[in-house]
Symmetry: C2
Subunit: 306 residues, 2 copies
């Protein structure tokens, strides 16, 4: 079952060096979720052949433009392309006003259902759940209200063992209950424990997506043990003072968080325009956390095999 | 003296086939003017090496997103890049509200002077003038308030004839007045006519930029004799009915306007996403007006030698 992250934009606020503002697509069992939507995200979707019709939820971390300026264009294109299904936008307060003032001025009535969910970015709270995933906010420490997003894949159903089912002559009507973990009670009242009849499901995987934030150890318990952590690294260590002023993180700080949270892999992005080459950025982070990779645009990173 | 148009975006509403929404840069004597600013315009400026600091006036034809979604990103990048000079935005009512609601929500205070000029798109009126150019609105017939822009290069100064100046012993203090067209009055009261002492300036060139509009012959007197006419051609002739419904023009209609307005050259753009190849679009327009060219992105078209 797929669980992966595709990077559409990896730069911080100014698009340059062929890099674009923040956007990434999370693929969980072929359902797509968009996190952030910087200017030009819909063009990157064309370029990287993202099946945009599979996106039903968009999560916006905060209302700095490099994280949402592309949203109105995507919403508008869905409308022109005659989207039918509802689209859910999860964002801090203000997003709805920004979109609606633009629709009003162009006299556009979006033909599909466009639903805004205002999130409280200051708490760690479940904001979305369906049959395959739960999504939680992760409070960030930034200049304006901002949160990361924690994706927890739901455990699948237990796997039936056909030969055991036959041996105990268990009627098919009970199979669903067994998959859910129930024991089987025979007619004589005796019990066959579930783990005699089924195998445990695949372990659940987790992805923590953290942008933008000042170095903040308070997120560690929330993201602890994640298979993959995306953490912003706007600056290298020699700009640590600038990182503080602008409420961003450095390579070494992101790596420190990854190490203390004991994640499997660290994905770094949101690079400052000052870095044309990213190799030194990568190498600096790897000094602290070896399993670090660059969030290069167009690349897909596996969460299940991180 | 340069007078040219560089195309940054040539498509209609949906960006596809590697084409982008509307934007073009007018270069008049190395002063740059931006007309429309679709999503990703700032990235196209990077790609085509447009010296964005030379832009002081931006003209927005109307508030459909494919003509302005990139404006907030450009305004924001100017801010981050520490622009000092004022930036003037000429647009129909609503533009200021759209930009300001976004600046408010990101708590951004633009550090340079950002000035909005609300234009009445329903009239043919001068909206801007400086030492080299006058800009007029051209009323379009579209679903919402919309105008084109007519750029009239100002005539330069008359050219002094040094041998004549010497012959008549004219003091240097009078040269500026002669360049402006004044006659010279000698001490004895006799007059030397200006055209004995100077040559006429280069002729003034004109560029008419018309997007988006239903076929509308009322614009012909306004754009008559333009060196270069940009006219939208969203559709080919077989979609003429669709053009009417959506308030757009076809190839044949744009060419008809060019012919009747007796312009030197026609530049066609704002292509529907349905046309992957543009060669048939070009050929159809050329059936009516031979001097037609495609508004291909990255290409620069001369107005003075149209």
């Amino acid at each position: 079952m797929t669980f992966s992250v595709t990077i559409l934009g990896s730069n911080s606020a100014i698009p340059v060096h062929g890099r674009h503002p923040s956007a990434q697509v999370i693929n969980i069992h072929d359902q797509l979720f968009l996190v952030d939507c910087g200017e030009g995200t819909q063009m990157r979707m064309n370029e990287f052949k993202i099946r945009r019709s599979r996106i039903h939820q968009i999560f916006i971390s905060h209302l700095h433009g490099d994280h949402y300026f592309g949203l109105i264009g995507l919403i508008n294109s869905y409308h022109l392309l005659k989207r039918q299904e509802p689209l859910h936008i999860y964002a801090p307060a203000g997003m709805q006003e920004i979109i609606e003032v633009q629709l009003k001025n162009s006299r556009t009535e979006i033909a599909y259902e466009l639903l805004f969910h205002t999130i409280d970015a200051s708490t760690n709270k479940k904001i979305f759940e369906n049959d395959i995933v739960e999504v939680y906010t992760i409070p960030m420490n930034h200049r304006i209200e901002c949160c990361g997003f924690f994706f927890r894949e739901k455990k699948g159903l237990r796997k039936l063992l056909p030969e055991k089912l036959q041996q105990h002559e268990i009627p098919q009507a009970y199979y669903n209950a067994l998959k859910q973990g129930d024991d089987y009670i025979k007619k004589d009242g005796s019990i066959i424990k579930n783990d005699e009849l089924t195998l445990a499901p695949q372990p659940s995987h987790t992805y923590a997506c953290c942008s933008d934030t000042l170095f903040n150890e308070q997120i560690i318990p929330i993201i602890s043990g994640a298979d993959l952590l995306y953490h912003e690294t706007t600056f290298m260590n020699d700009s640590a003072a600038r990182a503080v002023i602008t409420f961003h993180s450095t390579t070494l700080q992101a790596a420190e968080i990854a190490k203390k949270a004991n994640v499997k892999k660290l994905l770094i992005g949101h690079f400052s325009a000052k870095y044309e080459s990213l190799q030194p950025v990568l190498e600096e982070a790897q000094q602290v956390f070896k399993e670090t990779v660059l969030a290069e645009e167009g690349k897909t990173f596996s969460v299940e095999n991180a």
